[in-house]
């Protein structure tokens, strides 16, 4: 059914010898890429391999330094996104790109509003927006709601709907599922299959290789701005894909050193905040990793934010070591807790500042009573962490924005280690990073939980929030599931499977 069989067929579009540099960084270095009509083509590669850049060139958001493109066999060189859209190319960008102040319908039809008598045709706009949403199973969503008032997951649905509404022949999805619920992902896949059947060409970018195996017909692997492999998805295992992406075989994704849980360091009793979480109780011990599973919007982020003093505490108790009650972030750091935010770009890191500034940001351990800073000392300190974690940075004063996603995440983790905290609150620490970086982060988390006398690291207590179930099952000692603001009991990892986790997350398996 996927038109791979006819080799004579003209590709829907093809890109030849595409190169693109940002200053001294060569993001793309002669990439060839083509997609047939009626095909779902996965584009995979490590962070910074150039996937987004390649697709931005196709969609007219960037212009290549060299190379050529054809569309249905004709030369194609869009100068603006508008031009590309008229040619039938629609793209969902990796970073959520919506106008929060506009209602859903205007976001979906932005830039291509139909008009009558010079005015925007509100009825037509609403209708087309509804149609696009209906494809995704959201036909009943009120299109008059401001996007800023929607939960994150629904926003992503709106963004996908926008691409569908173009009525395009080519659809590019750059990590569309990073904050979708499982049901929504299934719905999306159904839609994509429907489009494929109608002869659309679809490019699918994802770090979830299982998804790639499930949905894609063929795949292309990018590494360091070059095409290093391609083939039919059915003929290659996930391990083979990983091998092509990182240029070697990955030994063990989830390392597990012997851990010996110690005293309770963090305890929550019937904790609640507004609007979420509602009623959360748990205990976290030194030397263990407690995983929090749940659907997007279940309230896990809000739980961490409340524990860390970024959100107010409405009711209930918190106890960190000997300190009880709510405390603000500066106090939490002093008490030995640290947090990694799920929103790396906006909250987790100050991307315009250097690696050193980001690691040492609050400087509480780096200055004396007078608050005097010695820049050289700071840089030396940062260099130590760069070496310890193998962060790929040229120097401690390099701006964080120039690092790849995985390396950025390591900077965010290094901050906790630099502060020498005992309790780590990690919110989606591997979101959006590639499989090799993930394995490094897992290694790091494992080392922290078990302790490393060689590097004089004491065992830590780790609370890990993740929406990626294999990761939770691979890394944690115990897992608890959150559903609509309520946390179920924490059970040893051996008692869970992906299936039971899912049931609990959807509210069907909460009773013990």
């Amino acid at each position: 059914m996927a038109g791979v069989d006819s080799a004579r067929e003209v590709p829907r579009f093809s890109m030849r010898g595409i190169a693109k540099s940002f200053g001294a960084t060569a993001a793309l270095d002669g990439v060839d890429f083509s997609v047939m009509p009626g095909e779902i083509h996965a584009l995979v590669g490590e962070n910074g391999a150039g996937k987004s850049t390649l697709m931005k060139i196709l969609s007219g958001a960037l212009r290549p330094d060299a190379g050529s493109m054809t569309l249905d066999g004709n030369p194609f060189a869009p100068r603006t996104t508008q031009e590309a859209r008229h040619a039938g190319v629609a793209m969902i960008y990796q970073e959520l790109s919506l106008a929060p102040h506009l209602p859903v319908e205007d976001n979906i039809m932005l830039g291509m509003e139909p008009r009558v008598h010079g005015l925007r045709d509100r009825a037509a706009i609403r209708e087309r927006a509804r149609d696009a949403l209906a494809l995704l199973g959201y036909g009943s969503l009120d299109t008059g709601i401001r996007v800023g008032d929607l939960p994150i997951a629904t926003r992503q649905v709106v963004e996908i709907a926008r691409a569908l509404a173009v009525g395009c022949g080519i659809l590019v999805l750059d990590e569309p599922t990073s904050s979708l619920t499982l049901a929504d992902i299934q719905q999306l896949f159904d839609v994509l299959k429907g489009l494929r059947a109608r002869g659309h060409a679809i490019v699918y970018i994802s770090h979830f290789l299982e998804e790639v195996k499930r949905i894609a017909d063929r795949f292309t692997v990018l590494r360091d701005g070059r095409t290093v492999g391609a083939g039919a998805a059915a003929e290659h295992s996930v391990d083979e894909l990983v091998g092509m992406m990182i240029g070697r075989r990955l030994e063990q994704l989830y390392p597990r050193s012997p851990r010996s849980p110690g005293e309770v360091v963090l305890r929550a009793g019937q904790l609640a905040s507004t609007p979420k979480p509602l009623d959360v109780s748990f205990e976290l011990r030194r030397g263990e990793i407690l995983g929090l599973a749940g659907l997007v919007g279940a309230g896990r982020t809000e739980l961490l934010r409340t524990l860390f003093g970024l959100s107010p505490l409405a009711r209930g108790e918190v106890r960190l070591h000997v300190h009880s009650g709510w405390a603000d972030p500066p106090t939490r750091w002093r008490q030995g807790a640290g947090m990694v935010s799920e929103d790396r770009g906006n909250e987790g890191l100050a991307v315009s500042l250097s690696v050193a500034d980001n690691i040492t940001m609050n400087l509480s351990r780096d200055t004396g009573a007078l608050g005097i800073v010695k820049p050289r000392h700071i840089q030396a300190t940062a260099q130590r962490w760069i070496d310890t974690f193998g962060i790929k940075a040229r120097s401690p004063v390099q701006e964080v924005r120039t690092l790849s996603g995985g390396n950025q995440q390591k900077v965010a983790l290094a901050r906790l280690l630099h502060q020498d905290v005992d309790v780590l609150l990690l919110d989606e620490p591997t979101r959006g990073i590639d499989v090799a970086s993930k394995s490094q982060v897992y290694e790091l988390i494992d080392r922290l939980a078990a302790g490393d006398p060689a590097a004089s690291i004491r065992p830590k207590a780790i609370l890990l929030v993740s929406s990626y179930l294999p990761e939770l099952l691979g890394v944690c000692d115990r897992i608890a599931v959150m559903h609509r603001g309520r946390l179920g009991p924490a059970r040893p990892v051996g008692e869970w499977t992906e299936h039971t986790l899912l049931l609990a997350a959807t509210g069907q398996g909460t009773t013990s």
Partner: protein, 322 residues
């Protein structure tokens, strides 16, 4: 879940206006709530209100325009010069509005071409346009023959009470309706909100961001120009020193009315209410014979309190309704 509704957003400022008005009606002189005084308040609001229409668009688009006071002064000078040269009053007013559009277009052009933030560009044109007005007028007021233009904002002559307020105020109201309509019913309006809400997204979706900005600043210039026509109507002379510092009143009107300086938010109805609040405070303080310094302090205090209350209300609503 809440629906997109600009009416509800205006309720806060409106309540503030009614409260302040009520306060002065109670503690101020009796004449304060007379229809006569209401007309005066309307007339005094017309100029800032008209300029604030354009500023609302600019602020919604995520920008700011500090040059609006200078444009008003420049326009009064242009009109006076045209009238002096024997041009028909209607054409002279058109010429003034045209001068306003030109200034606004220059703002928009510089902002989009030089990629310098609006604050700086319009800080520059604030000086340049003011200087041009003074130079053009040879550093003095330009006298102009009296024409019907002066009726635009004059107090109603007896027997014309059916008009309720002078034509100039009707003009402001009519323009307010048009702009409110543009925001809701046209593609341009949606594009303005999109640019202010998320410029990156707007660009990716094929909104011609630069063109939208140039149009927005040109419209800002147009409304400053119309405000200049009204200002001329009050002065009956071209005065290059008039309206100094008015930009702050205008911006305050927009922000009191719910506009957000980070873009994406603002409403025409709110802006008009904001402009009225400022006039009512000034008029009430003056009629109670309060010294100017008290008036200044009260105005400043109310700006902060009004915005603080509005933001607080919105935060509360947001956290209650998600």
């Amino acid at each position: 879940m809440k629906r997109f509704s600009s009416l509800a957003q205006t309720l806060g400022p409106l309540a503030g206006l009614l409260f302040i008005f009520g306060l002065f009606a109670v503690i101020g002189p009796e004449s304060f709530s007379s229809s006569n005084n209401l007309e005066t308040i309307a007339r005094q609001t017309a100029i800032v209100g008209t300029a604030a229409l354009g500023m609302t668009l600019i602020i919604i688009s995520g920008g700011i325009d500090l040059s609006v006071g200078s444009i008003i002064a420049f326009v009064t000078v242009v009109i006076a010069a045209l009238l002096q040269a024997g041009v028909d009053p209607f054409l002279a007013a058109l010429g003034g509005a045209g001068a306003g559009i030109l200034c606004g277009f220059i703002n928009g052009f510089l902002i989009t071409r030089l990629r310098v933030v609006p604050f700086i560009v319009t800080l520059g044109t604030l000086l340049v346009v003011r200087g041009a007005a003074k130079g053009f007028a040879h550093e003095q007021k330009i006298d102009a023959p009296l024409t019907w233009l002066k009726e635009l904002l004059a107090a109603l002559p007896p027997g014309e009470g059916w008009r309720i307020v002078p034509w100039g105020v009707w003009l402001t109201l009519a323009l307010a309706f048009v702009v409110a309509g543009v925001l809701v019913y046209t593609r341009l309006g949606r594009h303005i909100i999109a640019v202010g809400s998320n410029e990156q997204t707007a660009r990716l979706c094929g909104v011609p961001v630069d063109r939208v900005k140039v149009i927005v600043y040109s419209l800002g210039g147009l409304f400053a120009g119309v405000a200049g026509v009204l200002q001329f109507s009050r002065l009956t002379v071209g005065d290059p020193t008039v309206a100094m510092g008015v930009e702050l009143d205008v911006i305050a009107a927009v922000v009191i009315g719910g506009g957000s300086l980070s873009g994406g938010e603002g409403s025409i109805a709110g802006t008009i209410v904001g402009a009225l609040i400022m006039t009512v405070i000034r008029s009430g303080c003056a009629q109670m014979g309060l010294p100017n310094w008290v008036q200044e302090m009260v105005t400043g205090g109310i700006i902060v309190v009004a915005v603080a209350l509005d933001r607080w209300r919105q935060r509360r609503k947001a956290s209650a309704a998600v």
